[in-house]
């Protein structure tokens, strides 16, 4: 029998390396040793911070980051049904979309995967999402975060319009708004009154974690 700390450390290492079968094997060992699903998840989730740091430093690139996120997500999915009533592992809910007039979704999809692997529930609104759809989804889903992506300078003003629409609907202060995408900058985010800007997927995860 592997000691708890060692088992969890090996599981985390496997997740960082994207070895999903190994992650599941360690999870099963943990369960066999009567550790709860919640404590296994809580030891697994911080692996994504390590992955984020490796991505930021240039040690990891997209493929390594994505398989690590997948290993994390599959591990979490394996454990979810075993949580006790009242236990939740979802840190928060986010709605996410590429703004109206913009059809780029590569960045959005990557951020979504990373957020999910980091413990968030992400409602993907897709591309070309009009301000009123963000408002409608915010009312329905009651998310903690409203996240917007844009790849074109042309469509960046839609972020501003969406924030204003959320304000007019009286729900601006109920959510934290994050923006990102190639032409978007911190300066622009400040200008339109977004709560945060992130320049890559791990950055978005870090910013969301910091606002919980």
């Amino acid at each position: 029998m592997i000691q708890k700390n060692l088992l969890f450390e090996e599981m985390k290492k496997a997740a960082i390396n994207g070895e999903r079968d190994l992650v599941k094997k360690y999870i099963q060992e943990g369960l066999d040793q009567n550790y709860t699903a919640l404590e296994i998840i809580e030891s697994l989730v911080p692996a994504m911070d390590v992955v984020g740091n490796k991505f930021a430093s240039g040690e990891f690139y997209l493929p390594q980051m994505m398989i690590a996120a997948r290993a994390m997500s599959e591990g979490i999915e394996m454990l979810k049904p075993l949580l006790l009533p009242g236990q939740t592992i979802t840190k928060a809910k986010a709605i996410f979309g590429t703004v109206k007039g913009d059809y780029h979704d590569i960045g959005k999809n990557i951020v979504k995967i990373i957020l999910e692997s980091g413990g968030y529930e992400v409602i993907d609104l897709g591309v070309d999402v009009a301000p009123e759809r963000f408002v409608e989804a915010s009312k329905k889903e009651k998310p903690r975060f409203v996240l917007m992506s844009a790849l074109l300078t042309l469509t960046m003003p839609m972020m501003d319009k969406t924030i204003k629409a959320l304000g007019e609907a009286g729900i601006r202060d109920a959510v934290k708004i994050g923006v990102g995408g190639a032409p978007v900058t911190q300066k622009f985010a400040d200008h339109i009154g977004a709560d945060f800007y992130a320049d890559d997927a791990p950055g978005a995860l870090k910013k969301c974690n910091g606002l919980l």
Binding site: Y61, P63, Y103, I106, I110, L154, A182, P183
Partner: protein
């Protein structure tokens, strides 16, 4: 120095030399912007547009006149006659407002989906594919440098697979990734063999490999999954060529340069420092870019455009080997006055020897 033709200017810069002026070349100019720059006219030839703007590379976007069904009035349609990029193997959708087509979903999902190559990619040996281009090249291009647009297979594979699926497949189905890339590259190489016989001056090869953070692969993955197939196209090319990628390609640039291109585009300012690129690579390769599209050309003032053009020419244009360009292409949403400011500034500061260099 004797005044050069626009073509001589571009070809000199591509060889790393010093032309009489810094040439201006755009990978594409959106049709609606072209019409605004031509003060509402739609009946101009590409060479007339280039002459008016002071551009040296002939834009590939031209119009053809045809009659719509049931209508006597001729209709002008913007088409990319010199575009030889393969179609995406993807489910496409159309934006109702702009009419722009976009990829909804890549269809290369499993090895079995490789059969889609047969139905999606046209026959590269069909002579009809090259007739319009050959005819247009025979018309007078007024000594502008004319280029054809190509891919080396990478963007085709990434978009047709989906970038997230690519990331998984590198580990799950590496042979599938390689085979998809190989097939796209093989198609492009075959196209290039036909284009080599036409009077293009150079090729512009578009293969996005990165976003602003960095490349979508490390050097090891680049060398295993990309370079050998891109090389198939590079080896087929018998003319000078420019490689384009958006984003920050610095971590794999040494690998990309093994393909032997003459120029590198677009050095996106939010992703790469063009001065660093000039310092490290300026002796080896022509640099094309990087007037900012995220802010300066689209949101800035003509004065800011003037300043940025001056700075680029002063530093990157020093010792030649520089073709000034926007950091991607001139999009519809560039401010018209800023594009004019760019044209004026290039005229003002771009003459060799560079008098504005401190």
């Amino acid at each position: 120095m004797k005044e050069m033709t626009p073509r001589e200017r571009v070809m000199t810069a591509l060889r790393g030399g010093i032309p009489d002026r810094v040439p201006w070349g755009e990978a594409a100019v959106d049709w609606k912007l072209q019409v605004r720059l031509m003060e509402g006219r739609v009946d101009f030839k590409p060479a007339e547009f280039c002459r008016k703007m002071g551009m040296s590379c002939l834009t590939n976007l031209v119009t053809i006149e045809h009659k719509r069904d049931g209508s006597e009035a001729p209709h002008r349609q913007a088409v990319r006659v010199f575009d030889f990029t393969p179609p995406w193997i993807a489910e496409m959708a159309v934006d109702d407002y702009s009419g722009r087509r976009f990829v909804r979903k890549g269809l290369l999902t499993t090895r079995d989906s490789l059969k889609l190559f047969d139905s999606f990619l046209p026959d590269p040996d069909d002579p009809a594919s090259y007739e319009d281009a050959a005819r247009m090249l025979d018309e007078s291009q007024e000594d502008f440098a004319v280029f054809a647009r190509l891919r080396a297979g990478s963007a085709s594979m990434l978009v047709s697979m989906g970038i997230d699926q690519f990331a998984y497949n590198v580990f799950d189905q590496p042979d599938f990734v390689k085979e998809a890339h190989r097939r796209f590259s093989e198609w492009s190489a075959r196209v290039v063999e036909h284009l080599n016989k036409l009077n293009f001056d150079f090729y512009w090869v578009f293969d996005d490999l990165a976003d602003t953070h960095g490349p979508w692969m490390d050097m090891t993955i680049y060398h295993e999954f990309f370079q050998p197939y891109q090389k198939m196209v590079a080896d087929a090319i018998k003319k000078p060529w420019i490689f384009h990628s958006d984003g920050n390609i610095l971590p794999i640039l040494d690998g990309i340069l093994t393909l032997g291109m003459d120029g590198i585009h677009s050095i996106q300012p939010s992703a790469m420092d063009i001065n660093e690129v000039k310092r490290k690579y300026g002796e080896k390769i022509c640099i094309i870019g990087n007037i900012d599209l995220d802010y300066t050309l689209t949101q800035g003032t003509p004065e800011e455009v003037d300043q940025e053009v001056k700075e680029r020419i002063n530093y990157v244009g020093r010792n030649g080997g520089y073709i000034i360009s926007s950091a991607n292409s001139l999009t519809e949403y560039c401010k018209t006055e800023n594009v004019w400011a760019m044209a004026e500034a290039i005229k003002k500061y771009g003459k060799y020897p560079l008098t504005s260099v401190p």
